[in-house]
């Protein structure tokens, strides 16, 4: 897979990261070389290897179904850019 400028623009749009022309060029170059390396890894035969989702050889830790958090509305809403006692307030988003 090759990385061209359009691909970089598409990904930056999805990630909501704005890039100027210069940055787009340098990222295209950098990511292309990273992909080249990944393609090199693809030469290895991994037919008999299970895909790896985590490098930690540990079981997933879990918790009991107990309510022991929440009820901190004031604290949570402190970081909302617009002041409101009950809600987060954001610019209108509607279909």
């Amino acid at each position: 897979m090759s990385i061209d400028k359009d691909k970089i623009k598409h990904i930056s749009k999805l990630a909501r990261i704005s890039l100027d022309a210069k940055k787009t060029d340098s990222l295209t170059k950098d990511l292309s070389s990273i992909f080249k390396f990944i393609e090199q890894l693809n030469e290895l035969n991994t037919d008999k290897t299970e895909p790896l989702s985590s490098i930690l050889n540990e079981p997933l830790r879990s918790r009991k179904d107990v309510v022991n958090d929440g009820k901190i509305r004031e604290k949570i809403l402190e970081n909302s850019p617009q002041k409101n006692e009950e809600f987060f307030v954001v610019p209108k988003v509607i279909e």
Binding site: S53, R63, D65, I76, N84, F88
Partner: protein, 509 residues
């Protein structure tokens, strides 16, 4: 809100028989276009809220209807550095649901990040399961008017719910409530096996019923515990290749699902017949206008860039745990239906209605264990259901409890009151919830079952109507009914009709 849901449930119960007749007429659901007949192919992605106390990855409460943003932790609002820790009960609930759907449980599953931006998704991604879901292929049996039909389940996976956006509190802003953010959902994906709005109705109801029997989802559609994305495509009758589908997002009632399917399939037929093609796209259903519309903002949305969530390790299920959950499964509607048919000589239709809701089957079982089978069936499916429908309440809210219903039925079978008097008693019970025995006593409704007392009445009637008695004896059989009527009238309707018949026959010989 609450009452609306009941209305739908009870309507289903009462109208069950009528709907059956209606759809019996047309076996196959087809759309008649200008040129061809078209088959509709539907698949559902149902989002069912897991019944649990706390959220999937945090200790905040899941209770519905709380003050906005009071059930939100730092994890749910995605503060930097917060780590998700999985709720083991939600995992068990997903396994339980999978077993209830006769599905394959995957001992190894992985949580992935589904990346997209929206105001009610503070993380900027939803934790979901993509390549390795917790539950694989399964099956649901639908009970349809013309027999049963198996619908394939593709998969079931666990994921987080998003928050709620409120658009109508302020003209220029959207308000966000994160109480729902992080609540555990099961996404249950069907195969494209459904062929009509009626089948969708049967599928959602069956799925809902199974989960309610299991206690894994309360199925409350008004509170958003059950919503669906509906995939619709059409193809010419007889074609085997699937057409291009459109996905109608987030429909929250069965009626709206049906309306959306009817509109969308007609739209697709019109496009195809006029030589155009279908764009595979996401659409929304506008309830007010009864139409589906393209959601252009979702153009890029299918590029979710899934990858395994680095904050969570793969989920390995212990085989012993799966077996324990399997062993503890309650009796599910299909098994219960078979047992009801065998044990209580019900027709499949009657059994379907009686197992459709866990509460109804519990009520039925409590009454029938001590009472006459036929009377139990008729009273519950007749007078009781009619009263629930009339008052728009659910069976668990009925003033006539199972115990009282059993007492009423027992008074009929032991001859204390006649079936007709029982209807009178029931009329009072359904309003006041009073004990049937008390009503019978206080109103003096007991049947006269003392032969001597009845003989006295009968003798009086016979001597008052000597001429008619003679006519009867000389062959005018029809007059028998007249005598019974007179005796009943004289007794104030309380004479035991069976005894009256017997004594009259003897006296008129």
């Amino acid at each position: 809100m609450q009452s609306k849901r009941k209305l739908i449930l009870n309507k289903f119960l009462i109208d069950g028989g009528k709907n059956r007749l209606m759809s019996d007429r047309s076996e196959k659901y087809l759309i008649n276009g200008e040129k061809d007949k078209w088959e509709v192919v539907i698949g559902l992605e149902v989002h069912a809220q897991v019944t649990s106390n706390s959220k999937l990855f945090s200790g905040s409460s899941t209770t519905f209807g709380a003050e906005p943003n009071t059930q939100v932790s730092l994890v749910d609002s995605a503060f930097p550095g917060m780590l998700p820790v999985i709720n083991e009960y939600c995992v068990q609930q997903a396994v339980k649901t999978g077993l209830g759907l006769n599905a394959k449980i995957n001992p190894y599953s992985v949580f992935d990040r589904k990346n997209y931006f929206y105001a009610d998704l503070p993380q900027g991604y939803q934790i979901s399961q993509y390549k390795n879901p917790i539950v694989g292929e399964g099956e649901i049996t639908l009970d349809l008017p013309n027999g049963s039909k198996k619908v394939g389940i593709e998969r079931l996976h666990l994921e987080q719910d998003a928050g709620k956006s409120i658009h109508d509190l302020d003209p220029s802003n959207t308000f966000v409530d994160l109480n729902r953010s992080g609540v555990a959902l099961m996404e249950i994906v069907s195969k494209p096996d459904l062929r009509s709005p009626d089948e969708v109705n049967a599928y959602v109801k069956k799925l809902r019923s199974i989960m309610r029997y299991l206690g894994t989802c309360d199925g409350n559609m008004q509170e958003g515990s059950l919503r669906a994305d509906v995939n619709v495509s059409v193809r010419k009758e007889g074609d085997t290749k699937l057409g291009t589908r459109c996905e109608i997002k987030n429909v929250n009632s069965i009626k709206f699902m049906q309306m959306a399917i009817i509109y969308e399939s007609k739209r697709q037929v019109e496009l195809l017949e006029s030589g155009k093609s279908i764009d595979q796209e996401t659409r929304l259903f506008d309830i007010k206008k009864n139409e589906t519309r393209s959601m252009r903002s979702k153009e890029d949305a299918h590029d979710y860039r899934y990858f395994p969530d680095p904050d969570l390790l793969p989920l390995n299920l212990d085989k012993k745990l799966i077996e324990k959950i399997r062993k503890d499964l309650p009796e599910l509607p299909d098994e219960k239906k078979e047992r009801f048919i065998k044990e209580h000589s019900l027709t499949p239709y009657e059994a379907n209605v009686l197992v459709s809701e866990k509460e109804i089957s519990n009520y039925f079982e409590e009454v029938i264990k001590s009472s006459d089978k036929k009377l139990t069936k008729n009273w519950i499916m007749g007078d009781l259901f009619a009263s629930l429908n009339e008052k728009n309440i659910s069976i668990s809210e009925s003033p006539v409890t199972a115990k009282k219903m059993a007492e009423l039925i027992d008074s009929i079978s032991s001859g204390v009151i006649s079936g007709r008097t029982a209807k009178e008693v029931f009329e009072i019970m359904k309003e006041t919830g009073e004990d049937p025995k008390k009503i019978i006593e206080s109103k003096g409704l007991q049947q006269k079952s003392d032969p001597k007392e009845l003989e006295k009445i009968i003798d009086k009637i016979l001597s008052d109507n000597k001429d008619k008695a003679e006519q009867y004896k000389s062959g005018k059989d029809k007059l028998f009914g007249f005598f019974v009527g007179q005796v009943m009238k004289e007794s104030g309707g309380k004479a035991n009709p069976q005894l009256v018949n017997e004594i009259l026959k003897k006296k008129l010989k």
